[in-house]
Amino acid sequence: MAKLKDIAQLEDRLVAGHGMCLGCGIPLIFKVALRATEDPLIISNATGCLEVCTTIFPRTAWNTTWVHSAFENAAATMAGIEAMYKSLKRNGKLPQDKEIKFLATAGDGGTYDIGLQALSGAMERGHNFVYLCYDNNAYANTGGQRSSATPFGASATTSPAGSEIPGKLQRKKDLTKILAAHNIPYVAQANPARWQDLYNKAKKAFEVEGPAFLNVLCPCPTEWKYDESMTVKLAKTAMDTCVWPLYEVDNGKYKINYTPKEKKSVTEWLKPQGRFRHLFKEENAWVIEEYQKQVDEDWEELHKLVEMTK
C-alpha cells in the first residue's frame, strides 16, 4: 500500500500558481491521481475551471505535456493522440516497450453533457487511455449553470430556486453506470477525501490495457456555497450519506469500496450548502424526502449489482 509520505516525494505534475478558488477540490484530486503513474504522461483537457485556471497564457501550471481541447472533445483529442503514438511505435519511430500514459479530463459539463458522445465513442473504440471526470455538479467556470450532474433540488443559475421551482427538478444522471455499460475494463467512482482509494483506482486505471473511466466527486465552495475550509469534510459527508458511493467495476464485476458504519441522512449533506438552503423551507420538505428516496434506491441497486456480478 502506498504511503502518503512516499507519494509526496514524487514530482508534481500540477504545480503552484494556478488560479483555482480557495478550497477548490480539483487540485486535491489531481495531486493524488497523477502520482499514480511515473511514466511520461500526456493530458488533454476540455475547457472548464481546471483548464482555464491552469493555463492563463503565457503561464501553465502543468509540469507535463498538456493539450487544450474544446469543450466537447477531450476524449476525441486524446483518442487521436493515443492512436498517433501507436502508429509511431508500429513504424519503428518509438521503441515498442516505451511506456507512455494518456489522460483526458473535463468537468461534469464537459463529460456528462457536451462531451458524452466523444467519450462514448473513444471508450467503445477501445483507446488505451484514462478519462477522469471531476464532477463539481455544475458548469462552474461560466458561473454555475446546472448540468445533468447537478443534484435533484439544487439551485443553480439555470435552475434557480424560487416561487416557480424548488431548484433542479431532474434526477442526476448516473454517468458511471453509463460508462460501465460500455463494458470497458475499468470504471470507478472516487472522492478526494479518501486519497488511498483514489490513488489505487487511478493506478488501476493507468495500468489496465484499454479504456478506463474515473468519476471523482469534486467539492466546489464557489458554486455549492459552503465555507471553503470544509471541502474535505463535505466530501466525507458525501460518502457517509451514500450520496456519492465509492465503487468500482473491474472487468464487469461491481465492488463497493466504502460502506459507512452508519448511513447518515441526506440532510447532513444538504445543510452546509447554500445551493440547498431553500430545501429547508416547509413547503420544500418533499424535495428532501424525494432526494433521500433516490439516494436509497441507488445504494440498494448498487448492492444488487455487486450480487449479480459476483
Binding site: 504545480v15 503552484a16 497564457f57 501553465t60 470544509m230
Partner: protein, 104 residues
C-alpha cells in the same frame, strides 16, 4: 512579475515552459487569514500537504516544514484537516494587502 510582449511570446499559444505558473503568486489574493505552523505539535501525517489546493505546504523528506506564503490563499483547509489534539496549524488574522499584480 514581468509581462512578456507579443515579440517574446511563442506563436501558436504553445508554452514550452512547463510549470512556469510558479511565477504567479497566489498568496497575493489571500483571504485575510493565514496558517501558522506549531511544529512541536506536528506528527508529520502530511494531511495538510495532501489537502492544500495551492501547493503551499512545504515539506522536506518526511517532515512538514511550514508554509510558502507566496502561494497560500488562506483557505483554512490545512488547519481544518490537521488531526492533532493540540492543533499544529492555526489560522491567524493578517493585514490584508490587496492584490496589486504589480512589480516584484
Amino acid at each position: 512579475m514581468k509581462k512578456e510582449t507579443w515579440k517574446e511570446l511563442t506563436i501558436g499559444t504553445i508554452n514550452p515552459n512547463a510549470g512556469n505558473s510558479v511565477q504567479n503568486h497566489t498568496g497575493t489574493w489571500r483571504s485575510g487569514t493565514k496558517p501558522e505552523f506549531i511544529e512541536e505539535h506536528c506528527i508529520h501525517c502530511f494531511f495538510c500537504w495532501l489537502y492544500c489546493p495551492h501547493f503551499a505546504v512545504v515539506i522536506d523528506g518526511d517532515k512538514v516544514k511550514g508554509f510558502n506564503y507566496d502561494y497560500c490563499t488562506g483557505c483554512g483547509l490545512c488547519a481544518e484537516e490537521c488531526p492533532t489534539k493540540e492543533k499544529s496549524i492555526i489560522m491567524v488574522k493578517e493585514n490584508v494587502q490587496l492584490a496589486g499584480g504589480g512589480e516584484e
